[in-house]
């Protein structure tokens, strides 16, 4: 990057400008897009990439970074967005999901934003994407070595529930002193009969750092273990980036005689594609369409579910037609 000083020291600087220079400059300014490729300035993108490289080199370690303010609020994926915009190139294909769904408003907004500031191709098909930015889910489709998963992280610190003081937290990670974490899991188990940790289950990464697996469900954690793809975790508000490189151990913390349990509900299967039923032979993370007498279930990963049915991705209309969604509401209409 050229600095002002470099420019002025350049011998060309003192030369008379060519006669049409001013009009050319004006032309440039008029066509100037106020936002450049990837929104962030190049220094910021470099900073993100450096943090990403450090994170890959030290799996599970939370790398502090400057964390810029983004055009989405903090808590709305600003960390994931910085990673995506820091690593995205013109030939990338980007998929964005929230809760497993491409059409959710937050996913749609982030996808639009990424497309607006990069003009890259976007997709809902997990097989076509080179970058998948996600909130709360890992796609059911097994990702490959050419794909990068970018996870939006609200709370990067896995030990916050047991220690509030950040200086002490830094020491605990530094010395791999996770004794109190184990005690807390033990107390949880003996008090409740099960380990009650829900999403964001703490995992040991590469045998060294305990890491918060964002709030992805326990269901998704085995997909990160010895994965073929790179997972990058971005916490914008808390200014941390961490990573699970490919072929890295991701071991949920549990005891030898207490098996790690993922979310499963007896008898539940997807009402659209049948996943989870004995006949289907496959399982997926199901979300409940609640009803007091008879709840039904659908896949949270809408892209995967629709491809299983050989059709287009699930839309809100599909849900309505299946008798499992609200009628399209009119709240977006002007009430006048």
């Amino acid at each position: 990057m050229t600095t002002l000083a470099d420019l002025i020291d350049d011998p060309a600087f003192d030369r008379e400008p060519p006669p049409d220079a001013l009009s050319r400059l004006h032309g440039l300014v008029e066509d100037h897009d106020p936002y450049e490729f990837g929104f962030l300035d190049e220094y910021s993108k470099r900073e993100v990439r450096r943090a990403v490289l450090t994170a890959v080199a030290v799996p599970g370690y939370q790398v502090p970074f400057g964390s810029r303010e983004m055009p989405v609020a903090r808590g709305w994926g600003s960390g994931g967005l910085q990673i995506t915009l820091g690593i995205v190139g013109t030939d990338d294909v980007v998929k964005v999901i929230d809760q497993g769904e491409d059409a959710g408003v937050n996913a749609a907004n982030l996808r639009r934003l990424i497309q607006d500031v990069t003009d890259v191709e976007v997709t809902t098909d997990a097989r076509e994407a080179t970058i998948v930015q996600t909130r709360h889910r890992v796609p059911e489709e097994p990702l490959g070595p050419d794909q990068t998963l970018v996870l939006q992280v609200p709370v990067p610190e896995p030990l916050r529930g047991i220690e509030k003081d950040q200086r002490e937290l830094r020491r605990m990670h530094g010395e791999a002193d996770y004794a109190r974490m184990w005690v807390s899991l033990y107390e949880d188990y003996v008090r409740n009969g099960v380990i009650t940790r829900t999403t964001g289950y703490p995992c040991m990464i590469g045998g060294r750092y305990v890491m918060a697996t964002t709030p992805i469900p326990r269901w998704d954690i085995p997909k990160l273990h010895q994965a073929r793809f790179l997972s990058l975790f971005g916490a914008g508000r808390e200014k941390r980036i961490y990573a699970v490189p490919p072929h890295t151990d991701v071991e949920p913390l549990t005891f030898d005689d207490v098996p790690f349990e993922v979310e499963r509900t007896e008898g539940a299967f997807c009402a659209l594609c049948g996943a989870g039923s004995p006949a289907s032979g496959v399982e997926s993370f199901l979300i409940e369409v609640p009803s007091a007498d008879h709840s039904r279930w659908v896949c949270s990963d809408t892209d995967w579910c629709s491809r299983r049915r050989g059709g287009e991705a699930v839309t809100h209309t599909d849900l309505v037609e299946a008798g499992m969604g609200d009628e399209p509401d009119d709240e977006s209409e002007d009430e006048a």
Binding site: M70, A108, R167, G193
Partner: protein, 391 residues
């Protein structure tokens, strides 16, 4: 490409945006010019500048208008615009005695060195809604000669005495001469900590907490200060303000060729020095110490809270969570963004939570729990609940 299928959400978003835009921009009142905001809603624009951390009055006014008067939202617009700008240079240190005051009060003395200059304030005006009819007020305003704009050229310092009044000395110097303040001189002269490039964690240098507070949310600082005054965290303070100033400050930048500092412009700031009575057993009780507050624009509440918290953190010396609170809970964008993210869908995480509730009810789980302490397995686990709420 299944892009079409993902359009449901997008259409709803576009409709919502259109609703906001139309309702904001239409209506019978005249178009809202940014100059109206900078002139008539100066304090609101100043807050956007301060919390946005960018001296750009017109841009802040534009953001404030776009955000329908929501200061946090406007600050967010300004800050995210900032993210697109490369940082080409740092300004040179500026001597705060070069502040050209528009207002300066010294509550600690009746006749301090230099003037007590009330300036533009409503501190001593009864809080009465002005019911003057609009046409009368407007006619009166039209008759008045236009006053010199605050952002206009430097004050007309024609005479030497005027100049002295515009750049008064500060009380701190007198207190130091009287040997009434502890010596806080730091011979290291470290570079200031740039909180926009390195996250500030507890143990960070003082410059990190000062710059954190300089762009913190005003209400958050006031709340944290008041909490200190009422004392639930055991910080009780006896503060007297030494200086409360509002004025213009030149911004010097090293000339890229000569290396000499050149004033590239000026900003309006509020500056506060807060004198703290030292009464701790490990403190020098025969002297005072001074906290410092400085923020963009005219925002005395913020600068006073900042100066108070600065000295509070210094005196606390890491014994409590105060420093962590100052560094990490006062940013308006952080707090509001995270609060508002609760509106996002959470059905995947909630499903996982429901599943664990059910798992706790299973016979096996209850049996194991009972075996340990002879009770049902239903007591809440305070350590875990708090974390779950954050998800």
């Amino acid at each position: 490409m299944g892009y079409v299928a993902a359009k449901g959400g997008l259409e709803a978003i576009r409709a919502a945006e259109e609703l906001v835009r139309r309702r904001r921009n239409s209506g019978t009142s005249p178009w809202l010019e940014t100059s109206q905001l900078t002139e008539r809603l100066r304090l609101a624009v100043d807050r956007v500048i301060g919390e946005g951390g960018l001296w750009a009055p017109d841009l802040a006014a534009r953001a404030f208008r776009q955000a329908e008067g929501d200061v946090i939202e406007a600050s967010h617009l300004v800050r995210s615009y900032r993210s697109t700008l490369p940082r080409l240079a740092y300004s040179e240190p500026v001597d705060m005695d070069h502040l050209e005051v528009l207002r300066r009060i010294v509550p600690a003395y009746r006749n301090p060195p230099g003037p007590q200059l009330l300036g533009r304030t409503l501190d001593y005006t009864g809080r009465l809604i002005d019911f003057t009819p609009d046409d009368v007020a407007q006619a009166a305003a039209n008759c008045e000669a236009p006053t010199e704009a605050e952002e206009g050229p430097a004050a007309d310092a024609d005479t030497a005495s005027d100049d002295a009044a515009r750049r008064p000395g500060r009380l701190y110097r007198m207190l130091r001469d009287l040997d009434l303040v502890v010596d806080r001189t730091n011979p290291d002269d470290p570079e200031p900590y740039d909180i926009t490039r390195q996250p500030a964690r507890p143990g960070a240098p003082r410059s990190a907490r000062l710059s954190t507070m300089a762009r913190a949310e005003t209400g958050a600082l006031v709340q944290l200060w008041y909490r200190n005054i009422l004392g639930p965290d055991n910080h009780l303070h006896e503060i007297t303000l030494g200086e409360v100033r509002h004025g213009h400050l030149p911004v010097p930048v090293a000339h890229p060729r000569t290396g000499r500092p050149v004033a590239i412009g000026r900003v309006r700031v509020t500056e506060v020095e807060a004198i703290e009575d030292l009464d701790g057993i490990d403190e020098d009780g025969s002297r005072f110490d001074v906290g410092y507050g400085l923020c963009f624009g005219h925002n005395e509440r913020k600068a006073i809270a900042m100066a108070n918290l600065d000295i509070s953190v210094h005196r606390d010396r890491g014994r409590s969570a105060l420093e962590q609170s100052v560094l990490q809970t006062t940013d308006g964008l952080d707090a509001s963004g995270f609060l508002e993210h609760l509106k996002l869908p959470h059905y995947v995480t909630f499903r996982s939570m429901v599943e664990r509730k059910m798992a706790r009810r299973s016979d096996e789980a209850r049996g194991r729990a009972q075996a340990v302490h002879g009770l049902g397995g239903d007591e809440p686990d305070p350590e875990l609940n708090n974390e779950e709420l954050c998800r």
